[in-house]
């Protein structure tokens, strides 16, 4: 188990994203084979199932299974959507996939569209990475000009077109039904489920939504076989995965590794702890996943099952590393502010609850905490969880519960002494402007 590049293989930063470079890397070979052999769609879905590819957007749902939910014969349009609205704090892998290897996503989407009979697709790209959106438009134009997109792809009977849609600053649009609302030109407010998008999706038509990295994994699976992909990971956790490492390490950045690689190895790849300082805690799967204390994290391997056993989630693969100079109350305060800001306001428990969570953590951090505030925080989270339309309510609650559970002493100290356990100047020094060797 170690570093292995499938999605990031043979890339040279900004210099190798064009169609000709992708073709030279063996790109579009999987699609060409499918078209030449008229592979039955069911065989493609079976291959994806065999790979045990699990969705890379956060929930880890098996991709092949999701694809099999789409109605086979449906009188009318079916749609495909790619979720590149990457806004989960700590996550920055889809941006690199899109800017350095956009055709891997395009090929993955064409294959998916063929397998599910979709006639049109949209890639929803986070507004803040507008330069990547522009580049993706160029990549689409290249694919169209080469007959890979549009009517009668590569001379076959199969037609599919793909377009880019940009967000403009709303985290909630990463939630798949909010994303569909947004493509329809509305506020990004999540829909009730059921009905699920496979029966009622974009414009009310059957739709499948997958993450950027999920689609980018598909060409390899079809070219080299689902089993080859699976074997790079471990049972039930197929393949390689990109991890975005941020925080107190020497080399923040994206690392593609085999699922099941020990966390300690990943930390080493990222250059180890900044200034040789001591690890305090890790948020292993994006800001919504529960924080894990250092000693438990050092025993984990990076895969869905191990991280879940440690009481957290692999989520989007965003690993936020915090060292001993971090004030856990302040860290949580910033995250709670984020969820409060980004709640779409549709459900009362989320709209009101995220405000409560932020205000209570804020007052603890600012020396105004009350003795029963930790109980209050826990009771607010129980009033949110499971009572909302979408998972943002849970996403806001899990950090609070886990920070209080694992670093309760630090919160209690704050409430009693009205100040941080970690002195302010130590915090400022530990999190001062740091740019790694990569820039």
């Amino acid at each position: 188990m170690s570093a292995r590049n499938l999605i990031l293989a043979d890339l040279d930063g900004d210099r190798t994203w064009r169609l000709q470079d992708y073709l030279a890397r063996g790109g579009y070979a999987a699609l060409k084979k499918i078209i030449a052999e008229s592979t039955p769609p069911a065989d493609i879905i079976a291959e994806v199932k065999a790979s045990v590819l699990r969705g890379r957007g956060g929930a880890g749902f098996p991709t092949g299974l999701k694809w099999s939910f789409m109605p086979r014969s449906f009188p009318g349009a079916k749609y495909l959507a790619c979720n590149s609205d990457e806004g989960e704090p700590g996550t920055f892998k889809d941006r690199d996939i899109l800017r350095y290897n956009p055709h891997s996503v395009i090929e993955g989407m064409i294959i998916a569209a063929y397998a599910m009979g979709c006639e049109r697709g949209y890639n929803y790209i986070h507004g803040e990475i507008f330069e990547v959106y522009d580049r993706f438009e160029e990549a689409l134009a290249e694919a169209r000009a080469a007959g890979l997109l549009g009517d009668k792809i590569l001379g076959s009977d199969f037609s599919f077109d793909l377009f880019a849609h940009h967000g403009y600053g709303a985290y909630i649009c990463g939630e798949e039904t909010a994303l569909l609302e947004s493509i329809e030109g509305k506020k990004g407010q999540p829909r009730f489920k059921p009905p699920f998008p496979a029966s009622y999706g974009l414009y009310g038509k059957p739709t499948t939504i997958n993450n950027t990295e999920t689609f980018a994994s598909v060409p390899f699976i079809l070219r080299d076989g689902g089993e080859t992909f699976l074997n790079y990971g471990k049972p039930n956790n197929g393949g390689t995965k990109l991890f975005s490492i941020s925080g107190h390490v020497n080399r923040p950045g994206n690392y593609e590794i085999e699922l099941g690689t020990p966390f300690s190895e990943l930390l080493e790849m990222a250059g180890g702890m900044r200034g040789g300082r001591k690890l305090k805690g890790v948020i292993p799967g994006g800001s919504s996943s529960p924080v894990v204390p250092a000693d438990i994290m050092m025993d984990c391997t990076m895969d869905y099952d191990s991280i879940s056993k440690a009481g957290s989630m692999l989520g989007s693969g965003a690993v936020i590393v915090m060292d001993e100079t971090t004030c856990m109350v302040r860290a949580l305060e910033r995250l709670s502010y984020f969820y409060f800001e980004e709640s779409c306001g549709q459900c009362t428990p989320c709209r009101e609850g995220t405000g409560w969570l932020y205000r209570v953590v804020h007052r603890i951090e600012h020396g105004l905490g009350r003795p029963d505030d930790l109980d209050l925080l826990n009771s607010v989270t129980t009033n949110i969880m499971g009572r909302t339309i979408c998972a943002l309510g849970d996403a806001a609650s899990m950090p609070v519960q886990s920070f209080v559970k694992h670093f309760g002493d630090e919160f209690a100290y704050h409430i009693e002494h009205k100040t941080c356990l970690v002195p302010d100047d130590v915090q400022r020094e530990g999190s001062k402007i740091y740019v790694g060797p990569s820039c």
Partner: protein
Amino acid sequence: MLSQESLKLIDVEVAKYPSDQKQSAVMAALRIAQQEKGWLARETIDAVASYLDMPAIAAFEVASFYNMYDLEPVGEHKITVCTNLPCALSGGVHAADYLKQKLGIEFNETTPDGKFTLKEGECMGACGDAPVLLHNNHKMCSWMTTEKIDQLLADLAK
């Protein structure tokens, strides 16, 4: 109300969607309108809505829901700096403090000469590049040390 050039750009967006789903282009159309006008006044939003045959209120709802649309005038250069936790661990807050001090303004303020507006941003999906900031929504500036911030402000002040 909108320039011919903007309308042409909007037409390209409209063509991405089924012919009975023009409203899907509203996010791009508002973005294009904002690029032309600097910010979205009520009349500008109305013009976008009527061009897309949608109710003005629906376009206004979209403009007010998404953070990158400016419903109030902003300075010539809007700088949005990310202070979310992953960035904050590598100096996002320090960079924001430095910008405030250099520009002499707080978040959501504009310098008296109308040149600079400073905003606090949420995760831009670029945390590995911390500190990160956006210039006028679309240009991402990575690894912003104080020297690079000095340079950026000097270039923009020209």
